[in-house]
């Protein structure tokens, strides 16, 4: 009898423990990054295109984490080639890229990357060609990155501020489009402190 109750006790503990572990992972996967927090630790494959590698400052690397991108601010767009909202938004994000590149104070400091949730390399390329996207778009064929970023709907934008010591924090995390590109860039400059010549 004592043996049986020990069994029950052990099994109960096991179930409770696994339940908590599983719910923790479920919560981690169901919440996008929060402003002020760090990004989840995710490793991405460095794009094959040499222009993309140069833009991200990742030449010679195989995989990377987003805070390793050579920039002060990285704006991440979680999109899908299949998402009509992302399609409509594409010209605006291109405009944002051009505004950054045309601004001497911000060029090289703010970089953009797109993550194609559930998109194969082929599908990402279709989106890139259709909208002539000038910044790196990374495939996420099995949704693994999308899961790490909280299975957000698309488009979803996250911006991080990278500090000199390599640490970083999320300064923006929102569902939906960016609105007017110039206004969004102003907001990014302000949130990151780049415009005011804040900590570099």
């Amino acid at each position: 009898m004592r043996k049986l109750s020990r069994h029950i006790y052990f099994s109960f503990t096991l179930i409770t423990l696994s339940f908590f572990l599983l719910s923790a992972s479920a919560i981690a996967a169901s919440a996008p990054p929060v402003e002020g927090a760090r990004l989840p630790d995710v490793h991405l494959k460095v794009p094959d295109n040499p222009d993309d590698q140069r833009y991200l400052g990742l030449t010679g690397k195989v995989s990377f984490q987003i805070p390793q991108v050579r920039a002060r601010v990285v704006i991440i767009e979680i999109f899908s080639m299949y998402c009509p909202y992302c399609q409509r938004e594409a010209p605006k994000i291109n405009e944002l890229y051009q505004d950054i590149e045309n601004n001497e104070a911000l060029r090289g400091k703010i970089k953009l990357i797109g993550i194609g949730a559930g998109n194969s390399a082929f599908e990402v390329a279709v989106f890139r060609d259709k909208y002539k996207v000038p910044f790196p778009l990374l495939p996420d064929e099995d949704f693994s990155l999308h899961k790490c970023f909280g299975e957000t709907r698309t488009p979803y934008f996250i911006a991080i501020r990278i500090h000199d010591d390599g640490s970083h924090k999320v300064i923006y995390s929102k569902l939906g489009g960016i609105g007017e590109a110039k206004q969004f860039l102003k907001q990014m400059s302000k949130l990151s402190g780049l415009e005011a010549g804040g900590s570099k």
């Binding site: 009509p84 299975e151 709907r153 939906g176």
Partner: protein, 200 residues
């Protein structure tokens, strides 16, 4: 020992629940209007046609008005039939918008696309308007309910169709069939590969 199996089973079930959370169909274009049917039986019908068969002809009403017959393309264009299970559901809502920016692949290979569901015209009208302007006809196989889907053998037991692709050459012969797992979106590159084969 039985208990161990039981508890392992419980844990396995919980893991399954976590890993099958729905990550598709997330375009913000549809706001909160997408109904999530959850995980469904991958396929639930018996094909009545096979590659090499003459494709059964049909005439269906189009959302844009008028009627479209398969036979009207005979001798002129290859036709891709894309059946999707239902309007306002996750995977379907993010399938045709992808085809909408892949028009070039169809044109280059002298093919056209017909999108078909068993929904009625008003539903299809409201739903496809969220996708932007579609370049291909969307047809309603609503009445007699699913009659065309039935001819092809892809009407599921609950009255919706499979997520199925049929590639029919300009002579009306079926050259490719993909009755896909209803829970997953077919890769665009597979379809493009089949389109290229038609002109080799």
């Amino acid at each position: 020992m039985k208990k161990v199996f039981f508890f392992l089973g419980v844990i396995g079930l919980m893991t399954f629940q976590v890993s099958t959370s729905n990550v598709l169909g997330r375009s913000e274009a549809y706001k909160e209007n997408i109904y999530n049917p959850g995980q469904l039986k991958p396929t639930d019908s018996h094909l009545k046609v096979k590659v090499g068969d003459s494709a059964p002809d049909f005439t269906l009403p189009a959302v844009s008005g008028g009627q479209v017959s398969l036979s009207q393309y005979r001798g002129n264009k290859h036709v891709v039939l894309s059946f999707v299970p239902a309007a306002w559901t996750p995977v379907c809502s993010d399938q045709w918008p992808g085809y909408n920016i892949a028009k070039d692949f169809f044109e280059k290979n002298n093919a056209t696309l017909l999108g078909i569901t068993v929904d009625n015209i008003p539903t299809l009208y409201a739903w496809t308007r969220q996708m932007g302007k579609l370049w291909f006809p969307v047809l309603s196989d609503f009445w007699p309910h699913g009659a065309v889907a039935k001819k092809y053998g892809i009407l599921r037991s609950d009255g919706v169709t499979e997520r199925a692709i049929f590639v029919i050459d300009r002579d009306g012969i079926i050259r490719y069939i993909d009755v896909h797992d209803i829970n997953k979106r077919p890769r665009l590159e597979n379809l493009v590969e089949e389109l290229k084969k038609l002109n080799r």
